[in-house]
């Protein structure tokens, strides 16, 4: 076990930010912590790193109890904060070099690692640039380079793609996968379910400081009753006809809004077919038809009764 969080409670005054949070991260995993803004992701990360005092619970990293002065544990952790944390007065190269030198003593090694980190995030052309001159995406990449330059065994990234253009975002996600393939265990927090679905092996969905569901993405989707989401474009359907569709076998809910008929049904084979049959037989004209498997958003919606994104 790389990380073990057990019964973690953190209060900010009256606000309970973490409410008996539990999760475990195994070696070699990309572990996703998925939750809306304010659900306690950053707080959890800060507690894990002993940057925050917490009220209850235990945290173990690499099988040892974590604490503020556990420097041998800290040495093997790389952290990428939610907000970019670099020195404005130092160049790209100098920034990465500095953060590397906090972890490693050998000067030659620091230089070597710094160069490697720079090419890893493809900032070779910007080595001598100051952070002020970098775009949002490049700045994020610098932030990541500063966090991973010392080749940590455990990498913790807290929403590293917020306010990043799609191109940089893909690059970042690919980079994380690559680091994982090279052997690092990763904890990745986000409120973007697509990202988490894309790269994470294991996911914990958290809300109000609690893990509400946990597992692989298939396991999570299997937890909920919806098996399929069908969307049909139609312009002439009556209330009565909607009522009848709602009564069809395996259908869970039907919403008609904005000329879109959205049908959620449980797991089964002929969900789409029976609806289209009914519409044909009753001469209801329809346009485009989609079916989707449930997303993590559906999982979140079903468990908490609200959307993941506001």
């Amino acid at each position: 076990m790389i990380v073990k969080v057990d019964g973690l409670v953190k209060r900010y005054g009256r606000l309970v930010a973490l409410d008996y949070l539990n999760f475990e991260v195994k070696e070699g995993e990309i572990f996703g912590l998925l939750g809306p803004n304010g659900s306690g992701k950053t707080t959890a990360i800060n507690c894990i790193l002993s940057l925050l005092k917490y009220d209850k619970g235990t945290i173990e990293i690499f099988g040892k109890k974590m604490g503020p002065d556990k420097y041998d544990i800290k040495r093997d952790i790389g952290i990428i904060m939610q907000n970019v944390a670099v020195f404005d007065e130092l160049t790209v190269y100098e920034n990465i070099y500095y953060f590397c030198s906090l972890y490693i003593n050998d000067k030659e090694k620091i230089k070597e690692y710094t160069e490697e980190a720079i090419s890893f995030v493809s900032l070779e052309e910007y080595k001598k640039f100051y952070p002020k001159k970098l775009s949002g995406g490049l700045l994020r990449r610098l932030n990541i380079a500063c966090g991973i330059v010392h080749k940590p065994k455990l990498i913790i990234l807290d929403e590293p793609t917020v306010a990043v253009d799609p191109q940089s975002r893909n690059k970042i996600l690919e980079g994380i996968k690559l680091l994982n393939e090279q052997g690092a265990t990763v904890i990745y927090t986000s409120h973007y379910m697509e990202e988490v679905e894309q790269i994470c092996d294991k996911i914990a969905i958290i809300d109000k400081g609690k893990v509400v569901a946990q597992g692989t993405k298939d396991e999570l989707k299997a937890m909920i009753s919806i098996g399929e989401k069908i969307t049909i474009e139609t312009y002439q359907i009556t209330e009565e006809q909607i009522m009848i569709i709602r009564e069809l076998p395996n259908v869970i809910s039907v919403i008609y809004d904005n000329n879109q008929l959205e049908i959620k049904s449980g797991r089964g084979k002929n969900n789409l077919l029976q609806v289209l049959h009914y519409m044909e037989n009753n001469k209801i004209a329809f346009g485009k038809v989609f079916t989707q498997l449930p997303t993590l958003n559906d999982v979140f919606l079903e468990i908490t009764g609200k959307e993941l994104r506001d």
Partner: protein, 390 residues
Amino acid sequence: MPVFRTYFKIMKKQLVGLILYGIMFIAITLLITFFIIRDNSKEFTVSRVPILLINNEGDNEFIEAFTSYLEGYVEFIDVDDSDEAGRDALFYNEVKYILTIPKGFTDGFLSGEEIMLIKEVNPDMTSVQSVDSAIDNYLNMARAYISYNPGFTLEELIDFLSMNPVSETEVIIETGKKVSLDAVEFDTYYFNYLGYIMVVCFVLGVSTVMMSFNGLEIRRKQFAAPVSSKNFNLQLILANLLFVLVYLLIFIIVGYLTNPFRRLHLGLVLTWINALVYAVVVLCISYLIGITVKGKNAIQAISTGLSLGLAFLSGMFVPQQFLGTAVLRVASFLPSYWYVRANNTIGEISNYSINNLTPVFQYMAIQIGFIAVFLAIILVVAKRKRQEAT
């Protein structure tokens, strides 16, 4: 020592500004200092003490020689020929000294009798000292000549006295004033202004760097790294001290080399020590600003405002005796006031003794007291900051 080295990497980015300020400071200081010194020395020769001479003896060659000698030090004022008028003039400060030459003075003096000149002064006048000693010097010289040359003529005596003028510096030595006016005065002005420029540059340099190290996210990242905060702070403190020492050393050397009357003496060394103490005070203030203030623009404003404010309130630009008592009362709560006061006191001392050095050490001790207070505040703020980050 990655933190230590990075401190100076960041400081290097401020270097251009610091050097510019330094050059500006030296140029302006030299200009002002020379201006003031020249002004003062002019004043020194021009402002002769106004005195009223009542000559009951009548004119003779000796009296004539004596009075014309005195004209180098005093200005004879004419007042109505009555006791009353003389006293009034003294009371209203039109004259500072009434010198009466009694009848029979010349003959008595030349034959070696102890005949006294009669003087009347305001008790609180210090400037009369120089007149007293001018008179004493002249008469002592005459007495010496008389006793070693039994068969002298009056003419010979007057010749001798005019050939061996009692020099100005000797008068100054006699009255207990400074040995070499200009050298010490230069140092006093130079280091008083340095007190101003230290605030400008330390706030600009130290505060900016400390602020960089104290951004919340950066601090978190540092806490997450395998470096203890003790080690981390130690590196920063060392870096800060080194910066301050080097900075001060440069200005001490430049100040010494640019002083046209340069002379190494105890007073100068004391001034250096005083500057070092004050530099640590300013370092503490800058450190505190660096860990509390947010935003580099604010630093600029604070650097300007604080340096000017302290300088004006504490008499770095305007001599302290020209500041009103209300201002001085406020100023005495500022470390800069005691720095300037120590400098000025050192500048006024001619011969160093435990007695006249005691106040200097007291003023330094007060500054050290300020250091203690600031350190305490820094510790409290740093603890609060740590809790905020953790």
